[in-house]
Amino acid sequence: MTVFEGWWIYVFIAIAGWLATDLWRWLGVLAGNRLRDDSEVLNWVRAVATALVAAVIAKLILYPTGILEHSPLWLRLASVAAGALAFFIGRQKPAIGIATAIAVLAMGLYALGF
């Protein structure tokens, strides 16, 4: 069975991708329908959701895949630090922070001969 051919791959994506993600979205709707928007439980749900997303972010920075897998960790951390500094100096404008971080990363990658 070659994975990339035929109808099987669509069934594969539908079960291991579609169902595997929408299952949690549906449970989220059922849970969220019971929450009042000023309750302490919702505050906790907000905190957990934010921490989950933050953990995904930390992983993307510390353990990237693809090209960045071969880039030094200090360069990635320096890019984020520079971006954060620019973000707070620049009145918390996301575009300023993002542009700074990417510029530092690009210069670093170039200097390292990528």
């Binding site: 994975v3 990339f4 791959i9 669509y10 994506i13 291991a16 991708g17 595997a20 993600t21 929408d22 949690w24 979205r25 549906w26 449970l27 989220g28 709707v29 059922l30 849970a31 969220g32 329908n33 929450l35 302490e40 505050n43 906790w44 749900v45 907000r46 905190a47 957990v48 959701a49 934010t50 921490a51 989950l52 997303v53 933050a54 953990a55 995904v56 972010i57 930390a58 992983k59 993307l60 510390l62 895949t65 693809g66 090209i67 960045l68 880039s71 990635r76 890019s79 971006g83 973000f87 918390q92 404008k93 996301p94 922070g97 993002i98 971080a101 990417i102 690009a106 990658l109 990528f114």
Partner: protein, 245 residues
């Protein structure tokens, strides 16, 4: 968004949501999708399967894990478990969003359908902007944004797929890095509750810690552990301030 007028038809608010495609969050996501497209093209996955994946799975981290599972020849069950574990976070995200957008009359089936369009970008965008939308139009506004964003990215994949394989490594690397940097900036900027800042820092610290401790369940443990700790800390601080006030 525009001016938060209390009147306005459903169609107006759907269109207002659609215009969100021209926002910074949508732009960042589309650039990240160009990066994902490069990843799948290098992996040799045909474009029609990538398009199907974008529409069916939607959440970007889940797709990266799905593709990795396909490449390693994982069987259906193994792939399902890997993807589903990475997607548990969608439940609290949707649960936090639903009370912000629904009214008493919103049918549950509609929320179940629209929940498919929730992923990090749409979530961040919606949590940030729905406050300015009259409550009775929030679901329509979210539908306009979410559906447009998914369709636009499916189209984007069709268009850029044939070009991305030749991208220089620096460009591919920077495109990939946009995703985490953009999430950091936009979540911080859009936080409306103090608990978000504490939880953000908590998750950033707890993520690597649990990856080291229990890599199989790192994201889940970091979310529940780091999030609960952040909530407790913020609540203690809030109560103390209320007492002294």
């Amino acid at each position: 968004m525009d001016d938060g007028q209390a009147i306005g038809s459903g169609r107006t608010w759907f269109a207002a949501g659609m215009r969100g495609i021209f926002s910074l969050p949508a732009l960042m996501l589309m650039l990240s999708f160009v990066g994902f497209c490069a990843f799948t093209a290098q992996a040799g996955i045909p474009v029609e399967q990538v398009v199907f994946m974008v529409g069916a799975v939607w959440a970007l981290p889940a797709k990266v894990i799905l593709v990795s599972s396909m490449l390693s020849g994982a069987n259906l069950l193994t792939a399902f478990v890997a993807v589903t574990l990475s997607s548990i976070r969608l439940m609290p995200m949707v649960a936090a969003l639903v009370p912000e957008i629904r009214t008493e009359k919103t049918p549950t089936w509609l929320l179940l359908f629209l929940s498919h369009f929730v992923a990090i970008t749409a979530w961040v965008f919606a949590m940030e902007r729905v406050q300015a939308v009259p409550r009775e139009h929030r679901v329509t506004f979210f539908a306009g944004f979410g559906i447009t964003l998914v369709l636009a990215n499916m189209l984007l994949v069709v268009i850029v797929y044939q070009f991305v394989a030749e991208f220089p490594p620096i460009v591919a690397g920077c495109l990939f890095f946009l995703t985490p940097v953009y999430f950091l900036a936009s979540i911080w900027k859009s936080a409306r509750h103090p608990v978000i800042y504490v939880a953000m820092v908590g998750g950033l610290v707890a993520g690597p810690f649990f990856y080291w401790l229990a890599p199989e369940f790192d994201i889940l443990l970091a979310g529940v552990g780091g999030g609960t700790l952040a909530w407790l800390a913020e609540r203690t601080w809030r109560k103390r301030r209320e007492l002294s006030a």
